[in-house]
Subunit: 383 residues, 2 copies
């Protein structure tokens, strides 16, 4: 049911013909209220796709009650014409579903630098608007797939209200494809400012901790829409908990489906002086190409973990670092610890634990290994 698991929402997904494959490539999600509200977070890349610029403005302006999404083209680095295309998508969606263009968010994903085939996009929007139903969530989730092998959805039901969501993307990408689009819906009663704080809190420890290949997209967008259709106003923290749970579920699905990856890696940093230190160290470890190759080869190469930690300005003593791989403390006090032969890395999941021994803060970063398949998928000519 995904985004239509929450009452007050209709959705659809259709084949507009943007993709040459004939697979579904255009989706709509519409909030029918009765008390619509919205929030969103966007990529922090300074190169922002035209739809991201549009959606930022729409959210800043007030509410967003409809979302149009397409795969098959990112509409990024497309100049003034691309900005016009994003506006046209909003206007046509607004006309088709009966809202103001300023209330429409636009999300695109696909190749960078190539204009969208707007005649097909416009026809697709009108077709999708006629297909909107209260069980259209699955079709919408399918239509936003790019190189995803499966569509990604999650639902958390609470007493009288629900949070649902869909996501597309993976850290490891086909040529030029943008990373992550997420739409979350709830029938709880909540206003825009509350949704904004709930969404930022949830994203900070879920999607923001996914770092598959260190590459930041021009199109990343996460939207949270509330309809109020349940009539229930959750107690303090309940909505954050539920939205966090859905985000965590979807984030793990992204890592699990990362293309070309053979391992799902959790870098757990503990004993940090601050959460910021823990995140910095976790990202540095997660982005180290040499380590990611070693983990692919099931080599418990803790020396590369230390090399990566050493490039950060986090608080630690180089001679006081402990590192465990899948629970075996192969590095103690910055030198060899338990025998590396004890480490079993044959499974798909690997956990690297770094104890900075400098405080009580912690954080987890999720990443993947670096594989020949990743190179292959991302070095094929983009056309």
């Amino acid at each position: 049911m995904t985004v239509t698991a929450a009452r007050g929402f209709v959705a659809s997904g259709v084949t507009a013909g943007i993709k040459t494959s004939g697979d579904p490539d255009l989706a709509l999600v519409v909030n029918r209220g009765p008390a619509p509200a919205a929030a969103g977070v966007f990529t922090s890349n300074r190169i922002q796709a035209a739809p991201v610029r549009w959606s930022r403005r729409a959210l800043a302006h007030g509410n967003v009650s409809a979302v149009v999404l397409n795969s098959g083209g990112a509409n990024a680095c497309t100049g003034p014409a691309g900005a016009e295309d994003a506006r046209t998508m909003a206007e046509r969606t607004a006309l088709a579903v009966g809202v103001s263009p300023d209330d429409v968010a636009v999300c695109s994903t696909g190749l960078i630098g190539v204009p969208l085939p707007m005649d097909r996009v416009v026809d697709g929007i009108e077709f999708a608007a006629r297909r909107l139903t209260t069980d259209g969530g699955r079709d919408a989730a399918v239509a936003i797939k790019t190189t995803d092998s499966v569509h990604k959805t999650a639902v958390v039901a609470r007493s009288g209200w629900t949070v649902g969501g869909m996501a597309k993307g993976a850290g490891m990408l086909a040529p030029g494809l943008a990373t992550m689009l997420v739409v979350l819906t709830t029938d709880a009663v909540a206003d825009g400012p509350l949704l904004d704080s709930v969404l930022r809190a949830a994203v900070r420890t879920t999607f923001d901790r996914v770092d598959s290949d260190g590459c930041m997209s021009t199109n990343d967008t996460v939207l949270l829409l509330a309809s109020g259709a349940s009539g229930v106003t959750p107690e303090d923290g309940e909505l954050t908990d539920a939205v966090h749970a859905v985000c965590l579920d979807l984030a793990r699905q992204l890592i699990a489906d990362a293309e070309g990856a053979a391992k799902e890696i959790e870098v757990a940093v503990v004993g940090a002086a601050s959460e910021e230190d823990a995140v910095t160290v976790g990202r540095s470890v997660a982005r180290n190409n040499l380590l990611k190759c070693a983990l692919h080869g099931e080599d418990p190469n803790w020396g590369r973990v230390l090399s990566a930690i050493g490039t950060t300005d986090a608080d630690f003593d180089p001679d006081g670092l402990d590192v465990a791989i899948n629970g075996v403390w192969v590095c103690r006090d910055g030198a060899a610890g338990e025998p590396r032969e004890k480490v079993d890395m044959s499974g798909r999941r690997i956990t690297i634990t770094v104890d900075l021994r400098a405080g009580q803060a912690s954080a987890e970063i999720w990443t993947n290994d670096l594989t020949a398949e990743y190179v292959h998928e991302n070095s094929a000519y983009s056309s």
Copy 2:
């Protein structure tokens, strides 16, 4: 002739048996004066190998007149025992060549976290000391190779004086191997403070601009030794020019020999508001895995260049960026420019030019493509 091209130096390279392959693995370089002076720069990784810690102290203490180098083991992350091993290497070298242990620099390269076979190292030092000759530079250069396919040397001769050098390493590494050891020699007359400023200026725009895989070693060391044997004191700037030329030559040899790489890539950033901005943008582009895969596939994917630029805080207008690949301006004003079909990427060398249109500063970063061979070489089990 390498490090023995300059008068006043003797060197040797021998097989101590540290490597299981039987290849040469221990080298000595000794400065016979008459006016010995030295300077050094080291990795900025906070995890520093024992020999790096030792050599830093030796240089801080005063002069360094002998260098002992080994391949086959990095002596990094080896705890207090590793520190003792580095000290022993300095003491045995000092005894064998007749200097104080405080005047000996130690350089090691190889697997991290594994103790050196000190009996073999000590025997090797004594053997190498007996082999010291004024034409031993080539043997020394060969003995510091790890996965290098060729030994790397350079010489610049000026009027009455000379700068020579040897280097080992490459950005793309075999499992756990550390990156770069460089010894430069000159028979010019120069004191320690002058050598220090000359070396820092030369390294800043050469070895510091090599960024093959974004991974920073625990063992990187670059040493410059002057003997004064020519009796010539170069004029202001002459010594810097010559040392820079040798460093540039060796840096390019490192990139050319990077294992698993099929392309040598120069990222030239122009029109930057500051050199720091240019370096920041160049590094971000050079470290982008998606772009490095695309370049491997000879795909002129300027969208990935822009994505990488957008992650920096450099001064630029996202809609005012120009990017050329091998001289074809495929991106103008942050959008598509000349047809990508015009770009010929079939050669081994690729130049990416980024014009930030924000000032007059510039910088070049050299890197390699990301290949399945890189993954293969770095995911093999480290033992």
